[in-house]
């Protein structure tokens, strides 16, 4: 499952999409909007994507991970638009027979996603807003 969505991410649905009777381990990563960043209080975030390319890049990352680790399932869902504090911007689920593979692949996916998938976030504060661009923000 590779999806760009504009509504809240249903984590259980994503986890179920990677389930397999052969999988003994499911690792997930959930990226959540924090109430503070760069020393400022965040009121909400806005995520913008280059949608077609973002999806292409997410498919590539999934393919790389499936080639590199023996996995039974891998799903990536990224949300765009306005997100409130506590809401999930990205959710990754990885299923494998053994836990090391699930952990490593999950980490690889989020690390790679953050440098290659064309999605940007704008942080909104009580007194302004700023695009957070690049360099592992």
């Amino acid at each position: 499952m590779i999806e760009l969505v504009t509504t809240p991410i249903d984590r259980e649905q994503v986890v179920r999409s990677v389930a397999s009777p052969q999988a003994g381990a499911v690792a997930t990563f959930d990226g959540v909007v924090r109430d503070h960043a760069r020393g400022k209080s965040v009121t909400h975030l806005y995520y913008e994507a280059y949608p077609e390319m973002a999806k292409t890049e997410m498919v590539k990352i999934r393919k790389q991970a499936l080639e590199r680790w023996p996995l039974h399932g891998l799903a990536i869902v990224h949300r765009t638009g306005r997100l409130e504090v506590g809401e999930s911007s990205v959710f990754i689920a990885v299923a494998s027979a053994h836990r090391a593979d699930a952990f490593e692949a999950c980490r690889f996916v989020i690390d790679t996603l953050k440098t290659s998938v064309p999605i940007w976030k704008k942080e909104h504060y009580r007194d302004g807003e700023v695009w957070i661009e690049g360099y592992g923000a």
Partner: protein
């Protein structure tokens, strides 16, 4: 030749639109030359040049790649998706 340019995040804010069609690009122009052509119209873009990424037809591209008629050329800042 005609190319379509897509802009995102702060670049889109500078230009005030997310898509621009340019119809005066000389054949053989590179992605960098297209950017400079755009920056002449929108000088506010110049300060982004150093940290910019370019994609041609939704694939990351080199700045010296020649563009073709009808290409979709996207300029954007380093990405910041994900969170945390």
């Amino acid at each position: 030749m005609v190319v379509k340019i897509c802009l995102f995040a702060s670049l889109r804010d500078v230009v005030g639109q997310s898509e621009i069609v340019i119809d005066s690009v000389p054949p053989g122009n590179t992605a960098l030359q297209v950017f400079h052509r755009l920056a002449r119209r929108f000088p506010g873009l110049r300060r982004y040049r150093k940290a910019l990424l370019v994609a041609v037809n939704q694939e990351y591209s080199d700045w010296d790649q020649e563009v073709s008629p009808g290409d979709e050329i996207a300029f954007f800042p380093p990405v910041s998706g994900g969170a945390a």
